[in-house]
Symmetry: C2
DNA sequence: CCTATTATGGAACGATCGGTATAGCAACTT
DNA sequence: AAGTTGCTATACCGATCGTTCCATAATAGG
């Protein structure tokens, strides 16, 4: 019933029963790639267990059903793939925030170990009937980041990082849109060179410091 | 076998047999909404015929299999939903091109009859195993528009629409990315008011005329 | 050794997938 | 009337869907 064995794992203490024979995070990383490329509906259990290198029953025993597996994957995704977003918020000026966010996004697309595009976008633009909870879960994460960015840019407005003629709300939403647009472009097979041009051009027209 | 009855339709000539009793484009529009919201893999035949108001056999007799149906839908999509993109290319300056493209995208999101976001993006960011041809077909359309936009901005550079310090290639790719990002935001439930702010802020920082 | 507990692989579950076939009626043309 | 096509309903096909069951393997504490 309970798939949460993390407490025993992190302590490294001896647990009764047969020990797990696979790397939990490595398996989740493999599942992440499948969800990333094919989407929740397009990622069948057969495809998942093939990529993860475990059997059907092991998947259900270790991670619960498909929805629970996806939530475990999202945890790993935010922990390993979107950490740079939090760093971006800590940058001293609005321009530096934009620069860090966009360069971080660019770096992620350069990493050959991860698929192109964004797993978040994949699950926010469409969802199969019955997968409404997955869609809602992911879009909520999008709302979270938009709120964080808005909050940061309201501070930037108070700091005078950009002319008062610019709306911090507009700049925040535009930055998020530019980031998402960059990720869509990456999904569409746009070259790294062109993606870099998008970022540098955007930063060139960005107002203020 | 042959689902192409358009030649008889457009001529209005008398054909033997019972005439079609449903509106072909209306049925395709209903199918378009299903593909748009749920994606190709998430749009089951049962869901499609339910939305289109026709029977299973009629769907196959009239449109061919699922892939053919999708291609018919894409025809309608480009004919009715993306016509403003061609208009945008005809605008006299680079700024006007950007303005027309973004405002057109915004108008499409305001239309309550069509789903939020973009059917193109839905099918370019992910695809189920076996649906590679659908993915390729859609991403090819994306490449087409990027090429068109690049071509237009190279002309704009020659016209001196923006400072020579800006790369037309970068501006073209950025504009496409901004448009896609706007559509992702719309999919994520961002309000029309906020979408409008994204557009106005982007146009405010856009260089040149 | 035993028992308890957990991990694992293979088989099987009912449901749904895309697609086809059949039968029969409906609505038109010649 | 005869011929042709449109459409619905139903049943069916093999394949795949997500999920569960079960026997077995591998460890722990006793």
């Amino acid at each position: 019933m309970n798939s949460d064995t993390s407490s025993a794992e992190q302590a490294g203490q001896k647990t009764p029963g047969r020990p797990r024979q696979f790397d939990r995070d490595a398996a989740l990383a493999a599942a992440m790639r499948v969800f990333w490329v094919h989407g929740y509906a397009g990622a069948s259990i057969a495809t998942l267990i093939d990529a993860m290198g475990i059997s059907r029953a092991t998947l259900y025993a270790s991670f619960g059903d498909k929805e629970h597996l996806f939530r475990h994957v999202m945890d790993l995704y935010e922990r390993e793939k979107t950490a740079y977003m939090l760093d971006a918020l800590d940058q001293p000026t609005a321009r530096r925030v934009a620069e860090h966010l966009l360069r971080g996004t660019l770096d992620l697309q350069t990493d050959t170990a991860t698929p192109k595009g964004s797993m978040g976008i994949v699950h926010s633009v469409s969802y199969a009937p019955g997968d409404e909870r997955i869609h809602e879960f992911v879009t909520e994460r999008g709302r979270f980041w938009r709120a964080k960015l808005l909050e940061r840019f309201e501070q930037a407005a108070r700091d005078g990082d950009f002319p008062a003629t610019y709306d911090p709300h507009g700049l925040a939403m535009l930055l998020k849109s530019a980031t998402d647009g960059l990720l869509v472009a990456a999904s569409s097979g746009v070259s790294e060179q062109d993606l870099d041009k998008v970022v540098s051009t955007f930063l060139k027209m960005w107002p203020g410091r």
